[in-house]
Each structure stands twice: as C-alpha cells, then as structure tokens.
C-alpha cells in the first residue's frame, strides 16, 4: 500500500487545524501548518511515484487503492477508491508542486491582510478537494472533488467579504459553476444507466469494446454533458463569465485556483474520459470548436483590458481554449502538456502581477504603472520569462506545448491551425502589452514601488526556471501508455509560422507601447466601435443579465414569492389558524353564560340518554 490517502489528507489536516484553532495561533505557526501540509503532500507524491517507479518507466497500469464502500444500494455500488496512473501522476505533480510554491508566496503576500488563518485554511481545503478530484477512481469521487473546489473557489473569491463586488463575484462563480455541474450530473446518471457502474476502469473497459458513434448516441450524449460541466469549471464559452470577475479574490487565489489547478479540472476530466470522447467524433469536434472559439474571443477581449489581473484572466480563458482544442483534435497528451506548462507560466504571471500590485500597495491599473523595471528588477525578470514562455518563443516551455497543439489542429483541419496561429499572435501581443505598459516607459503612478520580500520572489524564481525549461519535460512521451502518440511527421513550416506569429506579436506590442505610445490611442479612436465592443467584453455579461438573470429573478419574485409563498403557503398556514379560530367561535356560543340555555342542553342530553336506554335495549 502506498497510502495514497495521505496525499489529500495532509492538506485536510492543515485545514482543520488552521480552521478550528487558527485564531489562536501566531502567524509562524499558521504558516508552518499551511505550507508544511502542502509541502509534505508534495513530498509524499514524490515518494509514492518513486515507489511505483513512475519516473523510471513503471506505472504503465493503473495503481488502485480501495478504502471502503461508500454507497451500497441495490445495483449501485460506489466505493472510495484512489487510483494513480500516469495522467494522475502528471496532475499530482503539478497540483502539489505549484500549489506548494503558491502557498509559500502567499505567506508574504497576505502578511498584511486580515483573516490570515482563514485564508490558509481555505487554501488547504482547496488542495484537499483538488487532490480528491485528481485521485478519484470513479465518477462520484471526482464529482465530490469537483464540487469541493467550486466551494473553495467561492469562499476564496469572496475572501474580502466586506466588499460587495467580491461577494458578487463569488456568487457568480459558484452559480455559473453549478450550471455546468448540472450537465456533469446528468452525464453521471447516463453513465450509470448505461454501464451500471461509475468506476473508471470498469466503464472504460466496457467502452473500449463498443462501436464508435458519430452523432446522436449514448457516447455523444454523455460527452456533450460532460463538456457542459467542463465549460463551467474551465471557463469556456458559454460559461466563462465568472473567471474575470473572480479576480476580486486575492492574487494567490487567482494564481492557484484560476490559473494552475481548478480551471484545469475540466481539461483533466475530458482527458480522463477520453475513451468516451473517442467513441463520438461529433463530440470531439464540438470540444475543439468550443476551445478554438474561446481562445480567439478571449484573446480579443484581453487586448483592451486595463487591469493587469483581468488581462491575465482572459489569457487564462484563452489558454484553456487551447487545451480544449488540443483535446478536441485527439491530441490529449498535447492538451495535458500545455496544462502543465501553462500552470508554470500562468501561475508565474499571476504571482508576478501580485508582486507588482504589492509593490504599488494595491494599484492594479496598467495605466498607472510604467518603468517599474528599475524598481522591482526580480519581478521584472521573472515576468519576462513568463511572457516569452506564453508567447511561444522557442526553446521555452510554451513553445513546445502550444506547437504540439497547433500541429494537431493542422492535422485535423487546417483552418483551425490558422485561427490558432492568429490567436497565438494576439496572445503574445496582449501579454507583452501588459508587460511593456508595466515595466517600460515612465512611471505614471503616485506610489513608491518596493521590491517584494524573499518569501515572494523565491517562488517566482522557481516558476521562472520551470517556465523556461519545463518544455523539456516530455509529458506526451510519459503519457504514451494512455494516449498513444500520433504517427507521422509534421511539416516544419507549421512551427516556423507559429513562432513567427509569436515574435510578431511581441514586436507589435513593443511598437505600440514602447516606441510610439500614442499609436494605440489613435488606433482605438479609428476603430471606435470595435474597440468599445472588445473593451466591454462583447457585452456578454449584460446579455446574460438581461436574458437569463433578470427573467429568473423577476419570475421568482412575481410568481414564486408573491403567489406561491405569500398566498399559497402562508395562506395555508394562516388559514388553518383562521379556521381553528372560526370553529372555536362557533363552539363558543355554547358558553352563553345563561343558565337556562345550559338547562336546555341538559334536558336535550337527558332525552338522548333516555332514548338510548329506552329504545336501544338496555337490560330490562
């Protein structure tokens, strides 16, 4: 037994200790418990994987540990099982490794914030649920983790709960997630109906033996419903609207949950259920389309944002779109590879942004920054590393994973490749726009920037190294037992074009924001309509508000509250009281106080008694 359960339980212990007793602990104690639990979890992952010889060619089969039977009801038999295969191994390393780094960073970032112990308690709870999600060996355990991370996301987004926009954002995240979860639950039901079990191994074994269905069929249905769940959790069209608002939470939260781990749960889930998707080509097509569209649209929105965290949020949505594109074109391992590299450079981008914000004592608007590379050099260097990584500049990590996806896209449908390349160019552009606006030029703000403490820039440095060199971790080769690699070479010019797009984006950003800073303004004014559309995120939020939220709230108020609650339920309850009072009022008339009426009643009773005795045969 490798004691897999320790991996999630350690953060859970951290949550319990900090949550229950954190109020009385001093900061160093809270730090030790919170960071220590995650670091220990990471070490345990390493130990487990080494024990399973994962790094030396082992772990070809799934390693499963059974704990106990959870639900036993008729045909339904669900047990708490954890399983590790190579896919899980990748996820575990990413989650615990990047998670540990972010925990360390948060120690510095949150040093001056209130609710210190609560923050780390929630963060640990999140790690617990995420690890359950990744380790789960059946749909239900995965779903438990799925819901749990949604809950923690809500708690952490609304961490500054005294601010209305923060609690609103938390609500939005949770509610939109729930819409996705509805699809996921329906998928689980369908899986159970058709396969009789929710265990991954059993279900996929059955699936392998069944024929491929192109369109309407059980596989398409399940796949599409799972996709609905994934779009909710991984912020794809149409359920991506919560992610930009989620930036209301503290920056470490944005880094951990909304860049590196939780939002990748959808990608992981689709990769995990790849067998089902492979049996429904239409569903795969839709996955790819959703991913591509999201990547493109989000990139366009990111072009015009002024809040540094919002830029990176849309960047996350866009990169997740890339991952979905990878999955949808059949290159599952490419999608997971990009998941890992994205975790590195996106976490770095967010943490770096947090460092900038910390340096400027809370300023997030790019228009108030500038020329900071002299003031916060370490942050500058690390963020530049992340920038080149995300732009796809070889030989850094982003290039490897993005290139693999684009190649798979070309194999699938060339037009997808071209859209993807254009988006890559936009990605490079807006990321470097943010970086140039932030670090170059003249400082436009009023604060006194100061470098972050070591506890903050150390994780940045480590992540920078990973962003630069992470591309050489050959994840697709590692995942080969699960996701067989596609045969055949690829045309070299594909790579050159995508790299050129990335470099072109950087150059354009340099032109716009360093060489001639007035250019973007004039351009925006010329294309006023387009610019307004992009700047306002295509008015999607407003549309949802009008089309979905308002009618629901109105309907709820008019129908359910006014009629249902007030009239029916209250009326019923009050009606019982009124009826009782009415009956009592009638019966009260017998108590008239008049002796003679009492006498009349006595007489009536006497007559009844005599009648009964006389006519009903009392003994004579």
């Amino acid at each position: 037994m490798q004691q897999l359960w320790l991996i999630p339980i350690l953060p859970l212990l951290g949550f319990l200790l900090n949550g229950l007793f954190g109020k009385r602990f001093s900061k160093p104690v809270i730090n030790t418990i919170a960071v220590g639990s995650v670091v220990l979890s990471f070490l345990w992952v390493l130990k487990t994987l080494t024990g399973l010889s994962a790094f030396s060619g082992g772990l070809e089969e799934t390693y499963k540990e059974h704990y106990y039977t959870w639900i036993q009801s008729g045909a339904l038999n669900i047990s708490v099982d954890f399983a590790i295969d190579r896919l899980t191994a990748v996820m575990l390393m990413v989650v615990t490794g990047v998670g540990a780094l972010i925990h360390i960073y948060a120690v510095g970032y949150m040093a001056h914030e209130g609710g210190y112990y609560r923050f780390f308690a929630y963060l640990n709870l999140f790690m617990f649920f995420m690890l359950i999600l990744v380790l789960g060996a059946n749909f239900l355990i995965l779903f438990v983790g799925w819901e749990g991370v949604g809950l923690c996301s809500y708690l952490l987004i609304g961490f500054y709960f005294l601010e209305k926009f923060a609690t609103d954002a938390g609500n939005k995240a949770f509610i939109v997630n729930r819409i996705g979860d509805f699809g996921f639950v329906l998928a689980i039901f369908l899986v159970f109906i058709h396969f009789g079990t929710l265990d991954f191994a059993t279900v996929f074994a059955q699936v392998r033996g069944m024929p491929v269905e192109a369109s309407a069929g059980i596989f398409t249905a399940i796949s599409l419903l799972l996709l609905v769940g994934a779009t909710g959790k991984s912020a794809q069209i149409p359920l991506y609207v919560w992610l930009p608002d989620a930036m209301a939470g503290p920056t470490p939260v944005s880094a951990l949950i909304h860049a590196a781990t939780m939002v990748t749960a959808g990608v992981y889930m689709i990769a995990r259920t790849s067998q089902i998707y492979l049996h429904s080509t239409n569903a795969l097509e839709i996955v790819a389309l959703v991913g591509l569209t999201t990547a493109f649209v989000a990139a366009t929105i990111g072009l015009a944002q002024n809040d540094i965290k919002k830029v990176f949020a849309y960047s996350t949505v866009s990169q997740l779109g890339y991952m979905f594109l990878g999955l949808g074109t059949g290159a599952f391992s490419a999608g997971i590879f990009h998941l890992m590299t994205h975790a590195f450079f996106k976490a770095l981008l967010f943490l770096g942004a947090g460092s900038v914000i910390h340096a400027l004592s809370g300023e997030q608007d790019l228009r108030q920054m500038g020329g900071l590379r002299k003031h916060i050099p370490i942050t500058f260097v690390t963020l530049m590393c992340a920038g080149v990584a995300i732009a796809g500049v070889p030989p850094f990590s982003g290039y490897h994973s993005k290139d693999m996806i684009l190649e798979a896209a070309y194999q699938h449908a060339p037009w997808m490749y071209w859209v993807g390349v254009f988006t890559a160019g936009m990605t490079a552009f807006y990321v470097f726009r943010a970086l140039f606006l932030c670090f170059f030029g003249k400082y436009r703000g009023h604060h006194h920037p100061h470098e972050s403490p070591a506890v903050m820039w150390m994780p940045l440095a480590i992540l920078a190294l990973l962003s630069l060199g992470g591309g050489y971790i050959n994840v697709p080769k590692f995942l080969e037992p699960i996701f067989p690699l596609a045969e055949g070479g690829t045309e070299p010019w594909l790579t050159y074009v995508s790299v050129a797009a990335g470099l072109g984006g950087i150059a354009l950003a340099y032109l716009f924001y360093v060489l001639s800073p007035s250019l973007p303004e004039s351009l925006a004014n010329s294309f006023k309509g387009v610019y307004t559309l992009i700047y306002n995120k295509y008015f999607v939020d407003e549309f949802y508000d009008a089309a979905v939220v308002e009618p629901m709230v109105d309907g709820s108020r008019q129908l359910l509250w006014r009629v249902g609650d007030t009239r029916l339920i209250d009326g019923f309850a009050n009606g019982i009281g009124t009826t009782a009072r009415g009956i009592g009022g009638i019966l009260r008339r017998a108590q008239s106080g008049y002796i003679r009426s009492y006498a009349a009643w006595v007489l009536a009773g006497a007559i009844l008694a005599i009648a009964y005795i006389g006519f009903m045969g009392a003994p004579r």
């Binding site: 108590q591 008239s592 106080g593 008049y594 002796i595 003679r596 006498a599 009349a600």
Partner: protein, 110 residues
Amino acid sequence: MPLHFGPLPAAVPPSWYLMLSAILFALGVLGFLLRRNIITVFMSIELMLNAVNLSFITFSYMLKRVDGHIFSFFVMVVAAAEAAVGLAIILTVFKNRQTLEIDEVSSLKN
C-alpha cells in the same frame, strides 16, 4: 293506552300514576327553562323531585316492595339539604348582585 271512555272504572291502573308523574316532571322542566326568577326556578326543581318521588312510590306498589319508599325517603332528605344550601347561595347572589334575575348571573359568558 287503556283509557276507557265510558263509566269511570273502579280503580286506576298504576300507569296513570306514572303518567301523572311524567306530566308533573314536564311541568317542572318547563318552569325551569322559562322562568327568570331564581327562586321560581328552584321551586321547579323541587316539583321535578316530587314527580320522581311519585314514580318511585308507584313502582314500589307495583313490585310490592318497600325499597321504593326508601328511595323516596332519601330523595326527600337530599332535597332538604339541597334546598338549604341552594337558598343560601341565592341569598349570597342577591347580596352581591342585588337581583334575582337568572339572566343577570352570566359572568361565565364566553
């Protein structure tokens, strides 16, 4: 009903006594329900008791036993006691309310 319309019979069947008892009892009830003076109501009660006494004696005659007389005796004793206490109550009520109207004594209303 063995009512013979014709020359008067020499003796009357005991059922006639019982009929008389019933009539007197009914009259007592009537007075109890319809009169408003407390004392008159009380006297109607006494009338009812007397009617019952008559019926007891009649049954005693029919069954040729003395027990009916004993019952009647006890009824009388109890009536005496009840009259004493009842009149005392009437006196108290009169002292407190200055009225003998039975309808005025309705504090237990509702």
